[in-house]
């Protein structure tokens, strides 16, 4: 038990964070490099004003036409993404580990609130799964990898929820939880989860092209 814990929370955690950080830097650098090599003219109409305008309208719920057309999806996706990012960073038991390893600490979410947000993430994943199966237009563009990615995202939250409540098999699930978190970190730069990095670039590009070339809004 101690050996496994030390392995998953030591060397494996290092590997996960290095691949995550290195992968993210590589991905963004490769993106900019590819655009520079193949479609350099894009830089000629990139504009800060149109970029920020687009990012702003898509990051605020109901500020884009598309988000108003799909109100349920809009609410679910915002609740999902906010909880997904805040819970792992501001969970007390995670901060305790940062404090022990690096002597750094910051304020934590109350455990009760983090528990509710975790349930919201899990329910959102169920919603996204059902949506892929039920809606024909979504089903049409769904491949096996979409289900794998959904499972990768849901796993740390399901195992974390189970472990927090200390149900039977607690230690085993804790190890699974750490592994699930590491898999998700690694998957961010190397799967379609990379939209975490690319979404601002996508919006900046779309905003600039619509604003500067077509003289239209992209929201």
């Amino acid at each position: 038990m101690h050996t496994i814990y030390q392995f998953v929370s030591g060397p494996l955690a290092w590997i996960a964070f290095i691949l995550f950080a290195g992968g993210c830097i590589y991905r963004v650098a490769a993106l900019l490099h590819t655009v520079y090599q193949k479609e350099r003219f894009i830089f000629s109409y990139m504009s800060w004003r149109h970029s920020l305008n687009s990012i702003f309208h898509w990051i605020i719920p109901f500020a884009s036409v598309n988000s108003r057309k799909h109100p349920v999806m809009t609410v679910v996706t915002f609740v999902f993404h906010i909880s997904l990012i805040l819970v792992p960073i501001f969970l007390l038991s995670h901060i305790v580990l940062w404090d022990e390893a690096w002597n750094i600490t910051w304020p934590a979410l109350p455990d009760g609130l983090a528990d509710v947000m975790t349930v919201l993430v899990i329910l959102s994943c169920v919603f996204f799964l059902a949506r892929r199966i039920v809606l024909p237009e979504v089903k049409y563009v769904t491949s096996a990898s979409d289900y794998v990615i959904l499972a990768i995202v849901a796993a740390p939250f399901i195992t974390g929820f189970y472990a927090y409540h200390q149900w039977p098999g607690y230690s085993f699930v804790m190890i699974l939880h750490i592994l699930a978190g590491e898999i998700m970190l690694i998957a961010i730069p190397f799967s379609r989860l990379r939209h975490m990095l690319f979404s601002v670039f996508t919006r900046a590009y779309m905003g600039s092209e619509f604003g500067g070339v077509r003289h239209a809004r992209d929201w």
């Binding site: 101690h2 030390q6 007390l92 038991s93 404090d99 927090y164 200390q166 804790m174």
Partner: protein
């Protein structure tokens, strides 16, 4: 020996026994976390005497340490003090915060010895 003297002798003996057993943490089953005010987790399970017997600890200062200028004093011990006398809830003067001090003292040793609880819920049981 008169009966009265015998009763008094027994009474004194029992009194000494009770107070001494209370003083030596005979019945300690968890860490007193009242100093945290609004503790985020249930108090850590800790049966003092059973733990020390199990772990084969004879020296008090293995846990009840004294640090001076960042160095552990080999022959000093601090079992007559509260942990919170040196470790306040917020980290001060380079001394780890109380929460961190508990975690490092318990979990740190458990990892070194490869024995004893190391996961949150193994000590902070609901």
């Amino acid at each position: 020996m008169s009966k009265t003297v015998l009763v008094i002798k027994w009474a004194v003996f029992i009194l000494i026994f009770i107070t001494s057993s209370a003083l030596c943490q005979y019945d300690m089953v968890e860490i007193d976390n009242s100093v945290f005010g609004d503790p985020a987790r249930p108090p850590s399970v800790f049966e003092h005497d059973a733990h020390n017997e199990n772990a084969g600890l004879d020296e008090c200062n293995i846990c009840h340490h004294v640090y001076e200028d960042g160095k552990k004093l080999e022959y000093e011990s601090s079992e007559d003090m509260y942990c919170s006398d040196c470790h306040s809830v917020k980290s001060e003067n380079g001394s780890p915060s109380l929460r961190k001090a508990f975690h490092m003292n318990c979990k740190g040793c458990h990892l070194e010895q490869k024995a004893g609880p190391v996961l949150c819920g193994e000590c902070h049981r609901k």
